[in-house]
């Protein structure tokens, strides 16, 4: 962690800076020995949580692989319906947002609240853009054409009897991923509000920024795997 001594925050400043959430006024929970220890604990906790997320998606990837092996034709036919340009655009959006959120963490570490806010806002815009592209250019047109999961499938020109299964895997994989995008955006919004209202993050107190950013990177990472598997290989 930063070289600044986290154990001896400066005395509370006067005026608006007296709010308990202002970063210089933050202490640490009584069962930790110091703020560093608390920070490390939170970060380790987040990494463990991300491990569970990876394993959750592993189940979906596993189902993808097995059915791809069983029904290669359905998989080829299905992935032809996906437009790699939308997927590619969303990949760029997410990669870019990973960069901005990382810059946000850096800004918090440097005590630059304005830059933190700016970076978080851009990240959130990217999240919105991602969901918009997914819904407006992909889910909605496909669903209205009958390319729906399982028994809801009613697309008349399917090439392969197992195409409904392909769509099931597609919607479950991207749907659960999109849910994670929303959760991540929720976390980052919370950080944003606290940054704007209380200037809650600074060199000695940026745990929430760091952990939410880690979560956001995971959202990005999962997409990096979903994109080629669904859109690029046939």
């Amino acid at each position: 962690m930063a070289t600044i001594d986290a154990n001896k925050p400066d005395l509370p400043a006067a005026g608006a800076k007296s709010h308990p959430l202002y970063w210089k006024n933050r202490g640490f929970a009584h069962h930790f020995r110091n703020a560093d220890e608390q920070f490390d604990a939170c970060k380790l906790g987040m990494w463990l949580f991300l491990t569970t997320e990876v394993l959750l998606f592993a189940g979906i990837f596993c189902a993808y692989a097995i059915f791809r092996m069983l029904y290669p034709d359905a998989w080829a036919a299905g992935s032809h319906h996906l437009d790699w340009r939308f997927g590619g655009l969303n990949t760029i959006v997410l990669l870019f947002s990973s960069w901005t959120v990382a810059s946000g963490v850096r800004a918090a570490q440097m005590g630059n609240n304005a830059a933190l806010i700016r970076n978080l806002v851009i990240t959130l815009i990217c999240a919105g853009l991602f969901v918009f592209i997914k819904l407006y250019f992909e889910y909605i047109p496909k669903l209205s054409a009958g390319k729906a999961p399982g028994t809801f499938f009613s697309y008349p020109y399917a090439h392969d009897p197992h195409e409904p299964l392909w769509w099931s895997v597609y919607y479950i994989g991207t749907g659960i991923h999109a849910l994670h995008v929303l959760i991540g955006a929720g976390l980052l919004s919370w950080v944003l509000v606290r940054a704007i209202r209380y200037e809650a993050y600074g060199p000695t107190e940026y745990t929430m920024v760091e952990t939410s950013a880690l979560y956001w990177h995971l959202v990005d990472l999962v997409w990096i795997f979903l994109f080629p598997l669904l859109y690029l290989i046939h």
């Binding site: 154990n7 929970a29 009584h30 069962h31 930790f32 020995r33 110091n34 220890e37 490390d40 604990a41 380790l44 906790g45 463990l48 949580f49 491990t51 569970t52 997320e53 394993l55 959750l56 998606f57 592993a58 189940g59 979906i60 596993c62 189902a63 097995i66 059915f67 069983l70 029904y71 999961p149 399982g150 028994t151 809801f152 009897p161 197992h162 409904p164 299964l165 099931s168 895997v169 479950i172 659960i176």
Partner: protein
């Protein structure tokens, strides 16, 4: 972590602070205080009562199942049906009776696995004692801890709701396609699957909390190899919980989608693969059997060492074998589906399964060697620890014929399997859990229990258990399949014995129940360290004060140095050191 890490944080003096049990702010205030508490001790106690309640519910179902099996169902020449417990006489009677029976054993299995045994030891005793044994003031994330308790409660409510609405007949394993088609017009199966899904989150969060606590909150002076073995066991358990539970999460989620939207992933009618479900399910559920047993093994390490006043034999071997079991547990799941896989895969899984026996046997040998030349106290915790050694060994050894392909083909899905897993789960985990509750009861509630009554309960449970389940090994080898409400006449003698045994177990548990109630109401006050233990929880009061310790703890001796250290709060006359004619063994 070294002592140098300690900061200027003042050593709070908690001298005038009351026990964590001291009621506050009147009756309603106390209830509110407990419901919103972030104190790991209170959360541990709440979990303890919740899981014991679930154990009671599951137990009632088990007794009912055994009662049905007291006699086989017979149809006399005049059409009269006898031996059937749950159905009124009538034309459809046998069928109805069978359906009720299916719901009962599902209910028993699902409650016992998801709501009782998985959370049992870690969430109750683990929550209470992990921070205490580490010398910490709390777990790393106290609010998350309370949150996971509420998740546990909501999951259990879903499960109970499903039962109230009529129950589920899929078996606790929810095998597809049966579980995706049965009771199609009803919510019950969905609710039960949702319950298991939600309970998984609680399990993950508890595990995550414990891992971080163990890494970050050990008291100054406590290195990894100064930790009590109970902590090692809980740590290994937590790793499995964190790594295996997400897989059952996605599996159950897919199952829910399958039922709601017919997505076709597991339903062969829609092109899905039911064996995929079994792979997913056992990828979680085999590791989870070690979530069940590892904490029990941890308890046994404590009980045997303290109550025989011996340095534990092979500390590192026991610690590493916990991690070894955790690692191997992830690569043997296929042994539950030998009949659904190819020959090569089966042979590989069979070979890997035998690996599990190695770290398990290492533990058993170390425990027995620990007892050698110890001054063994005959009390309830020790009796339970000895019962564990006996019963768990039988359970583990009977796993081997199940892991061998040639024998498993015959034993699979028979009563032999039922007996095997009851010897490990009940003979192992439950026995260790009750032994652990006795061992730590004085610390948790500040009262002693009656030793004679405790030992009587243990003996009853031990005899009853063997009567109930030893018979089932014989039934299984003779061809009795599992999950049937009736059987051929030849099996009646053994089945009847088994049912009598279940009543003896009930009697034993009732003795314990009254003993505990009596202790809470009228038991003598417990001293801080009644057994002369050396782990840190014995350094504080009984029951512990709100912030656990009066001063920040500094670890100065190992957890099992009985040959060199007089236990805290104890008199050397009660717990004499051995004559020091040879250099003391250090660990």
């Amino acid at each position: 972590m070294s002592t140098a890490d300690r900061t200027h944080e003042p050593d709070h003096d908690h001298h005038d602070e009351g026990s964590y049990l001291t009621p506050k702010y009147g009756a309603m205030g106390t209830v509110w205080d407990w419901m919103t508490t972030v104190d790991h001790k209170k959360i541990g106690v709440m979990y303890l009562f919740a899981v014991l309640f679930m154990f009671f519910l599951g137990g009632v179902a088990a007794l009912a199942v055994r009662l049905e099996l007291l006699e086989p169902v017979r149809v006399a020449a005049d059409g009269a049906i006898t031996g059937q417990l749950f159905a009124p006489a009538g034309a459809e009677s046998i069928n109805t009776g069978n359906q009720i029976y299916n719901r009962l054993f599902t209910l028993h299995g699902a409650i016992m696995v998801f709501m009782f045994i998985v959370p049992s030891v870690p969430a109750s005793l683990g929550n209470f004692f992990l921070p205490l044994m580490l010398g910490a003031k709390d777990v790393a994330f106290p609010r998350l801890n309370l949150f996971s308790w509420y998740i546990y409660v909501s999951g259990s409510i879903f499960g109970i709701l499903s039962i109230v609405l009529g129950g589920v007949d899929t078996g606790w394993t929810f095998y597809t396609p049966y579980s995706t088609t049965t009771d199609a017009d009803h919510w019950r199966v969905l609710l039960m699957v949702l319950a298991a899904f939600v309970l998984g989150f609680s399990s993950i969060l508890t595990g995550l909390n414990f891992i971080v606590t163990t890494h970050k909150l050990r008291a100054p002076g406590m290195g990894w190899f100064d930790m009590p073995l109970f902590i090692w066991a809980i740590y290994a358990t937590s790793i499995i919980q964190v790594l295996a539970t997400p897989v059952i999460g996605i599996t159950l989620l897919l199952l829910i989608f399958e039922r709601l939207f017919k997505v076709g992933i597991f339903d062969p009618g829609l092109g899905g693969d039911p064996v995929l479900y079994q792979h997913f399910f056992w990828f979680y559920s085999h590791p989870v059997v070690y979530v069940m047993i590892l904490p029990g093994m941890g308890i046994i390490s404590e009980l045997l060492s303290v109550h025989s006043r011996k340095q534990i034999f092979g500390y590192r071997a026991i610690a590493f074998s916990s991690l070894g079991i955790a690692a191997v547990s992830f690569i043997v799941w296929g042994h539950h589906m030998f009949t659904a896989m190819g020959e090569l895969a089966s042979a590989i899984f069979s070979a890997l399964t035998f690996l599990v026996a190695i770290p398990t046997a290492i533990k058993v040998f170390n425990w027995i060697t620990t007892l050698y030349k110890g001054s063994i106290a005959i009390n309830t915790p020790m009796l339970y620890a000895l019962s564990f050694l006996f019963l768990f060994s039988i359970g583990g050894l009977t796993g081997l014929p199940l892991g061998a392909l040639a024998t498993d083909l015959h034993l699979h899905d028979s009563y032999f399997v039922v007996a095997h897993f009851h010897y490990v789960m009940m003979g192992g985990t439950v026995i260790a859990f009750i032994g652990g509750i006795h061992h730590w009861w004085p610390k948790m509630f500040g009262r002693m229990y009656n030793e004679k009554a405790g030992m009587l309960g243990c003996v009853l449970v031990f005899i009853g258990f063997n009567l109930t389940f030893m018979t089932q090994f014989f039934l299984g080898t003779q061809g009795m399949p599992r999950r049937y409400a009736s059987y051929v006449d030849e099996f009646q003698f053994l089945h009847t014995l088994s049912t009598y045994g279940s009543w003896l177990i009930l009697a034993g548990f009732l003795v314990h129940l009254f003993n505990f109630i009596h202790s809470l109401v009228a038991g003598p006050k417990a001293p801080p360290n009644p057994w002369g233990g050396l782990t840190l929880e014995w350094e504080t009061e009984s029951p512990p004060i709100e912030h656990n310790f009066h001063h920040e703890v500094l670890v100065q001796h190992g957890p099992y140095d009985f040959d060199t250290v007089v236990p805290p709060h104890c008199d050397e006359r009660d717990f004499p050191l051995p004559p020091q004619d040879q250099p003391p063994a250090s660990h």
